[in-house]
C-alpha cells in the first residue's frame, strides 16, 4: 500500500516536472517595459505606451564618434552613413549631409500653394499681391535678400520663404568638416531612425550591430576613434543584456553558495542533490505558471526565481535536520512538523496573493511565481522527498550546533529591552522620513546606469533631438478627420507660440494638409487671366515690372490643376518621415501627434495649454505629458502595491486568527515579522535608499519566510516543552543562512529591481529570526 502510494507520488511528480519543462520550452521571455504596462490603460496611458513601444522617439538611435581628430571623425561619419543608408533596417541616417535637401526643397516648392498657410483669397487680390510684393522687395534689401532673390520671379508672394522657415525652425547641430558635430566639437554626431519599433529588442540589437559593423568596416577606421550609441532602443538592449547576464551569473553564484553551505552542514552529496529537488520543482512550476497565466515570462521574474532558491531550499532543510534518521522518524516529522510548515506556506500564500491583484503585470507575475513555486516546493518536500530518501539516509550530526543555539536562546530574553528600543528607534526614523520613504519615479526601476543616462542627455542636447515629453494628440475615424483636427489644434497652438508660451510645435498637417484645407488654398488662386490682370495692377508703384513674374503665373496655373497632395507624394523626403511618425493608424483609428517644444529656459505650462485647447471645444484632443503620465502610472502601481501589501499582512493575521482562535497567539507570530519589516525600512531610510515597488515584494518575502520561524517558536510553546528542540533551532539557522545567501547576492546587483529585493530580504530574514527568538521567550517565561 505504502509502496504504491510512494510510487504514485513520484510518478505524478515526474510527470509534473516534465510538463512544466514542456511549457517552459514553449514560453516567451521578455525584458522590455511590457511588465510596466497597465492591463487597462486610460487613453493618455495608451498613448504613452504606444509611444514607448513604437513611437517616433523609440526608433531613434543617437550615434557619436569620439577620439581621433575632427577630420577623421567627419570622414567616419560620412562613410558609416553611406553604408547604413543602403541597409533596409534603417529608415533614415542623418549626419548633416544634404542627402534629402534637394528633394525636400523641390517638394516644398512644387506644392507651395497647397502647403503655405499664408495662401488665402485676400493674398491674391490686387491689394494683397501689392502688399506681398512690397514685402518680397523689402526682403531683397534685407540680410536674407540673397536667399530669396532667385525665387522672386516664380514666388513673388514669398510662400517658399514661409515654408522653409517653418521647416527649419528646430535647432540643429553644428557642422564640422561636412558632418554634424557636438557643440564642443569633440564628437561627430549622427541620428539614426530604425525601421523596427523600439519595443522590438532583437531588431534594435541588430541595428546596433550594423552600426558598429559600419563603424569598424569604414576605411577611415582607426583605433583612436570610439563609437558611442544611445536612445530608447539602445537602452532596451543594454537593459536586457544586463538583466540576462546578472540573472544567469547570480543564479549560478547563489546556487554554488547555497550548495557549499549545505555541503558543510550535510557532508553528503546525496543530501545536497535531494535537497535541491524541491527548489528545482518550485522554480520550474513558477516559470510554467507565469507562462500559462501571462503568456510571457519577464526577466525580472526569472531574477526573482534565482532568489527563491534560497527560500524553497528551507523546506528540505527542515525535513533533513528535524527528522533525524530512518523512515519512522520521517513519519514522525510529517506528523509533528508538517502542520507548522503547512501553516507557514499558507501564510506566505496569503502575502503573495495580494500581489496577484496588482494592476502592475510585473508584480502580478512575481505573485503568481511565488505562489506556484512555494506550493510546488512544499508539496515535493512533503509528499515526494520522504519516499526518495534511502532507508539509511542521514546527514551529519548537527546537534552540537543546536546545543550552542539553545544556550544562546536562553540568554535572548536579556536582549528584549534592546530589541524594543531598536524597534522604537526604527519607528521614529520611519515617522521622520515618512515624506521621502518612497521613490515614485518610474526611472527608479530602470537598469540603465547613470553614465549611460548622462551620455544620452549630452548627445540629445547636441543633436537637438526632441525629447517628446509633451504631446497633443488628436484623433479621428479617418486620416482626413485627424488632419482636420490637427489643423484646428495647430491654430490654437500657434496663438500660444505667438504669446511665447511655446517655442514651437510639430504637426503632420503642416506637411500633409487635409483635403479640405488643400481645396480651400487652391480656391484662393484666381484663374490665370484674372491673376495676370491683378498682378499688372499690383506692381504699380513698385520698382518691378509685371513681365518679371511670368514664371509665377504659369506655376499658379499649374497648381490649380495639380492632383491633391497625398502621403505618397512625400516619400523620400524629410517631411515624409515626419508625417509617418506623426500620423498613426491603429485599428482603423487615426491619430495625429503634435509634439510641443518648451520655450527656451522655461517649462511648458501644461494647465495653460490644456485650458486653451479645452476652450476651443475640440473633440478627441488629448494633452499628454509623457513624463508625468509615466510617473503617475508607476506611482499608481506603487500606492496600489502598498495597499495590497498591507492587505496581505492583514490576510496573514486573519489566517492565524482563524487557525489559532487566539488573538494573543496570532499577534505573537505577527509582531516579530512586523518588527523585522519596520527595522529594515528604517535601515534603508537611514542609508538614504528610497523604496521602490520591489522593496515591497522583498518585505512580503520577509513576512513569508519569517512566519516559518515565528511558527516554529510558537509550536514549541504550544507543546509546553521546556525549550524549543535544538534540531529545530539548527534547521532554522541553516534555512536562514541559505535565504540570506540567495538574496544577499542580489544586493550586489546593479539592476535596481534585483538590488532592492536583495537589500530587503537578506537583513529582513535575519531580523525576523532574531526578533522571533527574543520575543518568543517572553511567553515561555510564564
Amino acid at each position: 500500500m505504502r509502496v504504491t502510494s510512494a510510487r504514485a507520488a513520484i510518478i505524478l511528480w515526474l510527470a509534473f516536472v516534465i510538463s512544466c519543462g514542456i511549457i517552459i520550452s514553449r514560453s516567451q521571455f521578455t525584458t522590455d517595459l511590457s511588465a510596466f504596462f497597465p492591463r487597462n490603460p486610460t487613453p493618455a496611458q495608451q498613448m504613452l505606451l504606444d509611444q514607448i513601444r513604437d513611437g517616433l522617439a523609440s526608433r531613434l538611435i543617437l550615434v557619436g564618434i569620439e577620439g581621433a581628430d575632427a577630420q577623421v571623425r567627419a570622414t567616419l561619419s560620412k562613410q558609416m552613413a553611406l553604408s547604413l543608408r543602403a541597409n533596409s533596417a534603417f529608415v533614415s541616417i542623418n549626419n548633416g549631409e544634404p542627402v534629402n535637401a534637394a528633394r525636400d526643397q523641390a517638394f516644398l516648392f512644387d506644392h507651395r500653394y497647397r502647403l503655405s498657410p499664408a495662401v488665402t483669397p485676400e493674398r491674391f487680390s490686387v491689394e494683397g499681391l501689392h502688399a506681398a510684393l512690397e514685402d518680397s522687395i523689402d526682403l531683397l534689401s534685407s540680410s536674407a535678400g540673397l536667399l530669396v532673390k532667385s525665387l522672386l520671379p516664380s514666388d513673388p508672394t514669398g510662400e517658399m520663404v514661409q515654408l522653409l522657415s517653418q521647416f527649419n525652425s528646430s535647432s540643429r547641430p553644428r557642422m564640422i568638416n561636412g558632418a554634424w558635430a557636438s557643440r564642443d566639437g569633440a564628437r561627430a554626431l549622427m541620428m539614426v531612425q530604425t525601421r523596427a519599433t523600439g519595443a522590438d529588442i532583437d531588431a534594435q540589437e541588430y541595428a546596433m550591430r550594423m552600426i558598429r559593423k559600419a563603424f569598424e568596416a569604414a576605411s577611415a577606421a582607426t583605433p583612436a576613434a570610439k563609437l558611442v550609441m544611445t536612445g530608447p532602443g539602445v537602452f532596451s538592449v543594454t537593459s536586457r543584456d544586463t538583466i540576462t547576464s546578472q540573472v544567469s551569473r547570480l543564479s549560478v553564484l547563489s546556487f554554488l553558495l547555497i550548495a557549499i553551505l549545505l555541503l558543510l552542514v550535510y557532508r553528503s552529496f546525496m543530501a545536497l542533490a535531494l535537497g535541491f529537488l524541491p527548489v528545482v520543482t518550485g522554480v520550474v512550476a513558477g516559470i510554467a505558471a507565469v507562462s500559462l497565466g501571462f503568456g510571457a515570462v519577464h526577466g525580472i521574474t526569472l531574477g526573482f526565481g534565482t532568489a527563491l532558491i534560497g527560500e524553497a531550499v528551507d523546506y528540505s532543510i527542515y525535513l533533513f535536520v528535524q527528522s533525524g534518521r530512518g523512515s519512522a522518524d520521517r513519519q514522525h516529522w510529517i506528523r509533528q512538523f508538517w502542520p507548522t510548515i503547512r501553516l507557514g506556506v499558507l501564510t506566505s500564500l496569503c502575502g503573495f496573493s495580494a500581489l496577484l491583484l496588482s494592476g502592475f503585470p510585473g508584480l502580478a507575475q512575481l505573485g503568481l511565481y511565488s505562489i506556484a513555486g512555494l506550493v510546488a516546493a512544499a508539496a515535493v518536500t512533503r509528499f515526494v522527498l520522504p519516499h526518495l530518501l534511502p532507508e539509511n539516509f542521514r546527514i551529519r550530526d548537527v546537534s552540537a550546533t543546536g546545543v550552542v543555539l539553545s544556550r544562546l536562546l536562553r540568554r535572548a530574553a536579556a536582549f528584549r529591552l534592546a530589541a524594543v528600543m531598536l524597534l522604537l528607534v526604527s519607528c521614529a526614523i520611519l515617522v521622520w522620513h515618512r515624506g521621502d520613504l518612497w521613490n515614485d519615479k518610474i526611472s527608479s526601476l530602470s537598469p540603465v546606469s547613470r553614465a549611460e543616462v548622462e551620455l544620452d542627455t549630452k548627445l540629445r542636447a547636441d543633436a537637438g533631438a526632441p525629447d517628446v515629453r509633451y504631446l497633443v494628440v488628436v484623433s479621428g475615424a479617418s486620416q482626413e478627420v485627424a488632419l482636420l483636427s490637427a489643423e484646428k489644434a495647430s491654430a490654437i497652438l500657434q496663438i500660444q507660440v505667438d504669446q511665447g508660451a511655446l517655442a514651437g510645435f510639430e504637426s503632420p498637417s503642416r506637411y500633409l494638409p487635409s483635403m479640405a484645407t488643400q481645396r480651400a488654398r487652391l480656391a484662393s488662386l484666381p484663374p490665370p487671366d484674372v491673376l495676370e490682370a491683378r498682378l499688372a495692377q499690383a506692381v504699380q508703384g513698385l520698382p518691378v515690372r509685371a513681365k518679371l513674374f511670368t514664371p509665377f503665373l504659369s506655376d499658379a496655373a499649374t497648381a490649380r490643376v495639380q492632383p491633391m497632395l497625398q502621403a505618397d507624394h512625400l516619400e523620400q523626403t524629410s517631411m515624409g518621415m515626419a508625417v509617418a511618425a506623426l500620423l498613426i493608424q491603429r485599428n482603423g483609428h487615426w491619430s495625429a501627434l503634435m509634439p510641443l517644444t518648451a520655450p527656451k529656459g522655461a517649462d511648458i505650462n501644461a494647465a495653460r495649454i490644456q485650458t486653451a485647447l479645452q476652450a476651443a471645444n475640440l473633440t478627441d484632443v488629448l494633452f499628454v505629458d509623457m513624463k508625468v503620465e509615466s510617473d503617475r502610472l508607476y506611482s499608481g502601481y506603487l500606492h496600489e502595491a502598498i495597499v495590497l501589501s498591507l492587505g496581505g499582512v492583514l490576510a496573514i493575521f486573519g489566517l492565524l486568527l482563524l487557525v489559532f482562535r487566539s488573538f494573543a497567539r496570532a499577534a505573537r507570530i505577527i509582531v516579530p515579522l512586523l518588527a523585522a519589516i519596520i527595522t529594515v525600512i528604517a535601515g534603508l531610510a537611514l542609508l538614504g535608499q528610497q523604496l521602490i515597488i520591489l522593496h515591497l515584494v522583498g518585505l512580503l518575502l520577509v513576512a513569508a519566510v519569517g512566519s516559518n520561524y515565528a511558527l516554529f517558536f510558537d509550536r514549541a510553546e504550544r507543546l509546553n516543552a521546556p525549550a524549543i528542540e535544538p534540531g529545530t533551532l539548527t534547521s532554522m539557522l541553516f534555512a536562514n543562512l541559505t535565504t540570506v545567501a540567495g538574496f544577499g547576492l542580489l544586493a550586489f546587483s546593479s539592476v535596481p529591481i534585483l538590488q532592492a529585493m536583495g537589500v530587503t530580504v537578506a537583513p529582513g530574514v535575519i531580523l525576523a529570526l532574531i526578533y522571533s527568538a527574543i520575543f518568543a521567550r517572553q511567553s515561555d517565561a510564564h
Binding site: D138, S141, S142, S143, A144, V161, R172, R174, V544, R545
Partner: protein
Amino acid sequence: MQCLIRRVSAALALMLFAGITNAAGLDIDRLMQGLAQIRSGQASFVEKKYIAMLDKPVESSGELFYSAPDRLEKRTLKPKPESMILDGGSIVIERGRQKHSLQLQDYPELAAVIDSIRGTLAGDRKALERSYRLSLEGGAERWTLQLLPIDEKMQAAIKHIRIAGAQHFVSSIEINRVDGDRSLMLIEKLTAR
C-alpha cells in the same frame, strides 16, 4: 582674366585712436592684429543693393552691433524694421511678427559672405583664408582688403568682396556678384570698446 578691380566708392573713416601709425608698413597680419583688438562696437550703416530685377537700387539703413568673436547684430530701421542676429552658426531674422531661424550651414553661400565680414571684424586671418584669397592695398590710414573666393561653387556666385577701412575700423563692405548684382554697405562707427 577679366577681373578688373573696381574703384571703391569713397569710404568715410572715423577713428578714436590709432594703434598702428606707420602707414607704410601695413601687412595683412598687422591689419588683422589691429582688427582683433576691437572686442565690440556699435556703428550705423547705409546699404544699397543694385539688383538687375529691380528698376532702382534698394536702400536700407540702421545700426550694427558687434561683439567678438562671432556675434553680429544688424538692426535695420528703414525701410522696414528688421533685426538679424548672427550668433555662431545660427541666424535669427525678425521682421514684424515673423521670426525666422536659419542655420548658416544650410546656406553655404550666405555663410561665406557672412564669414568674410565676421572674419574681418574679428581679425581672424585663418578663418578668412579658408574661403578666400586675401590681398591688401593701402596703408593703415586707409586700407582695402580684397577677398577672392577659393571654392568653385562660391566662385560661381561671388566675384569678390572688398572691405575697406581705416586703422582698426571697417568703413565699407562691397560685395560683387557674378550675375552683376552688387551691394555696398557704408559703415559709420558710433562707439567702440
